[in-house]
Amino acid sequence: MRANLIDKYKDDVTSFSQSKGEPDWYKKVRLDSLEKADELSLPKYEKINYRSWRLDRPGSIDNSSANEFDRKPQANNYIYQAGDQTISMNLEDELSKKGVILTDIFSAMKDYPELMQKYFMTKVTKTTDNKLTALNAAFLNSGAFLYVPRGVHLTKSIQAMFVQDNSIDRDFVHHVLIVAEADTEVTYLENLVSEGSGHKNKANIVVEVIAADNSRVHFSALDQLSKDTTTYLNRRGITGNNARLDWAIGFMNDGDVIGDFGTDLLGEGSHTEAKVVAITTGEQVQGIDTKVTNYGKHTIGHILQHGVILQKSTLTFNGVGHIVKGARGSDAQQESRVLMLSRKARGDANPILLIDENDVTAGHAASVGRVNEDQMYYLMSRGIDEKTAQRLVIRGFLSSVISEIPEKDVRASLTQMIERKLVYGQK
């Protein structure tokens, strides 16, 4: 029988916590989570089987990356990390004066213990949700904290670049906490990217977004983890009254990834649009479970997932729309569409609607199909070769999410990422 996680890792976790100079409260969170992880199970997702990935077997907690990469975001307000190191960051004076906080997760524990104790894994994702969230808290070795105080509207986006390093043997256990207090507005763009090669690593990433009353939060992500990185990626949020939380996620990883996304619409009249595009290539498996739950009255939850599957890869989209009893006047809509470009590919689009209230509207659409022949014919009739035409049609198919991304240069980089992945997948 395997040794308990707590027995096996207690000393490592404790000494890592000490090496980071963490406050006692967080060291306790780590050890409590480690203890609980033994009893918790892996999260279950319809039609996604990832048991063999061994995401629940931690490796070394130490995440120091000695390598420098040229990945600094082109933005005024940004944080750039490689492994557990913050390479550089900037927040305009004007924003810090207003009380905006942008910092790495270890500094946040030390410098803003009240905020962290109030919000870190207490409101959105809990350490007790499942084995992987418990392990995230216990083995946390990088991350960031963004705080927007009441009444502050950010006109420029905040960008984050998180580099996961495969030139060393290290788990990447990452946590991002975003708190947008009441009456705020913030646009956040996150890049997750692998660098280096030679080692196979696991990543456990949890992102929590709190969109308080009357806030507007726009969250975009461009994910490019490599084929050597096996990942659990959890991005979830909650909304206050009349809050709006929108997600635009480009899932362009090359490795095996579980994506657990969504929003709990707690506040009355709150609204979320969750948009995901994914491309899978090679023999990779990507499973994406996007779940929106309407708790508050008159809440609106929309899910849109578009994916393209090439070669021998597998892509599964689950869309879960859940309206709880009492959420009168709410709306849950979802659309999941998958394009198959290869007979050896496997794809699934599962719409799941759970409706426990009568006075609501809900709907779903799901399809698994092939590239539109009329569009292909039209493009090729102008001289464009088949592969290029295919990429253009696919880009059109994915455009619903691309066009959601607010920054022009980020849209352009997503388009480039799509192009790169498709060219690779067409080989």
């Binding site: 102008r382 464009i384 070769d385 088949e386 059109g396 994915l398 455009s399 619903s400 066009s403």
Partner: protein
């Protein structure tokens, strides 16, 4: 000079309901050269659009007999994109809409597909060319920046087909009912575009129901199709005669045993 020859062309389409092939073209013969404009007229359901799709290489249309030759070489075995790069162009009756891909980007890709990888069209040259062609068609940059045909009105789509024609500059352009759904002003604009292409290096095959378009783009030859064949050829005056007497009149003159689709 280039030539496009259609020899004894038979084309079938597969019926969606019973899966059986139905012969639409029953032996079409037609030869045209660059420098010439030919018009094909005919009642509904006689195979005019089938001819255009078969020339371009739409896989839904099966050539069962005969040949299509460009400069003496058969193109039947070539896929659509190769035919296009050899100089064929089809302005479609129902252009596809492609969201996420701008008109500009699409046209650049089309032009660059005809050039070497290390000799792609310089951006400034492309923009200059685009602006001059847009002017001919009274089009704005706004339209070119939009996604390909997405949300375009019927008239805008037709204009956009002609813009592509002017940008790509093919040897032979087939215009499949480019006049349908156009008001008289739009018809004039589209005709101005096609006429601007006229010259020794350009030939066009214009498919239309109505003589009206041929007032603006005067053809060198007019062919009348009925029941999958060309039944009569002549000069521009043939089109005028048809306008006066109708297709039924011509059919009776020629003693053809053909049922016209829309005949009462």
């Amino acid at each position: 000079m280039s030539t496009l020859e259609i020899k004894d062309l038979h084309v079938s389409v597969t019926d969606d309901e019973n899966g059986e092939g139905q012969e639409i073209l029953k032996g079409v013969n037609l030869t045209m050269s660059t420098g010439e404009i030919h018009a094909i007229m005919g009642p509904n359901g006689t195979g005019k659009s089938t001819l255009s799709q078969a020339i371009m290489g739409n896989s839904a249309y099966k050539v069962t007999q005969g040949d299509i030759l460009l400069d003496g070489k058969s193109i039947l075995e070539l896929p659509v994109d190769e035919r296009a790069r050899l100089g064929l162009f089809l302005a479609m009756q129902y252009p596809a809409e492609i969201p996420g891909v701008t008109n500009v980007e699409f046209m650049r890709a089309a032009i660059n597909s005809r050039r070497d990888k290390d000799d792609q069209i310089p951006v400034m040259d492309f923009i200059k060319k685009l602006e001059s062609k847009q002017d001919i068609l009274d089009m704005t940059d706004e339209m070119s920046e939009r996604y390909l045909n997405e949300g375009f009105s019927g008239g805008e789509k037709k204009r956009n087909e002609i813009l592509q024609l002017l940008m790509i500059e093919p040897k032979f352009a087939i215009l499949d009912e480019i006049d349908s759904g156009l008001d008289i002003d739009a018809l004039k604009v589209v005709s101005r575009g096609v006429n601007s292409m006229r010259g020794d290096n350009f030939g066009s095959l214009i498919i239309t129901h109505y003589q009206r378009l041929l007032n603006y783009i005067v053809p060198d030859q007019v062919h009348v199709m009925m029941d999958g064949r060309i039944v009569k050829s002549g000069g521009p005056e043939l089109a005028k005669k048809l306008e006066d007497e109708g297709y039924a009149g011509l059919r009776d003159d020629l003693h053809l045993d053909v049922k016209l689709t829309d005949e009462i």
